[in-house]
Symmetry: C2
Subunit: 132 residues, 2 copies
DNA sequence: GTCCTTGCAAAGCGTTTGCACAGAA
DNA sequence: TTCTGTGCAAACGCTTTGCAAGGAC
């Protein structure tokens, strides 16, 4: 299921906890620390939130995942793949992936600013909440 | 200096604290609560952070300011005017305003999602930090 | 009098830190 | 042995809440 070479390529030693957390990220879009913790707790009964934080910050440091800052309080994490855009519903708080919006970075470079990364979050009302 | 009709139009009763905080927002880009508190403390010696939070959430509720969520922990606030883009330096943490990036929202509407607002944050290294 | 603004103190909550235990190499 | 992963408990920092005092009306 999970290719361990990916860990090796990023300089991460595998462990059951790390593998489970990574698999969870593969199957769930931008979860919070608490979501990961609550869902993995049954499989890994001795899991602690500290460990989830530790593993995620290791993944982040090794450029395996990126963090996502939204209106809500908690940090969210997602696996690094092609950039895309997020939609956050202001009613239910759910976060959806959206097609990537292409940006022109030339003006940024002109000002002597170096582009590294970007967060683009569209806020509004999701289709489900709109029907209510 | 400050047009009190603006407050009235938004259903906000003026007070010295509210006026000072609003003026601070007029003259400073996206400050944090602590920055506002520290800077206004000399003028308003009995000011408390709770009051800064109260006033800002009133302003936000009355659509006078919007909130801005960045990588750093604290919430930032800015006066509502034409939308623009923010650049956050990953070295010094400073936040700069940037030219507005125009977005095409048609695809969002197609999915039954209603656009309300957006946050666009570019991360990188600012011109000052780049020289070091 | 009532209503509203203000602000102290405490609680809340996501996150980080200190540290120690246990397993791997 | 040393190094590393894990996890409890406490600390930390930003924000919110409870509540009471004082002012506006």
């Amino acid at each position: 299921m999970l290719d361990l070479n990916l860990f090796e390529n990023h300089g991460i030693k595998p462990s059951i906890t790390r593998i489970k957390i990574y698999e969870y990220l593969l199957n769930h879009d931008h979860p919070t620390v608490d979501e990961i913790y609550q869902e993995l707790k049954p499989e890994l009964p001795t899991l602690s939130k500290t460990t989830v934080y530790n593993v995620l910050s290791l993944f982040h440091e090794k450029a395996l995942v990126s963090t996502l800052v939204l209106n809500h309080k908690e940090q969210r994490y997602e696996i690094n793949h092609q950039p895309h855009t997020h939609f956050e519903c202001i009613r239910c708080g759910n976060v959806y992936d959206m097609p990537y919006v292409q940006i022109d970075y030339r003006s940024i470079a002109q000002d002597g600013f170096e582009y590294v990364n970007h967060d683009f979050v569209v806020k509004g009302v999701c289709a489900t909440c709109k029907q209510e």
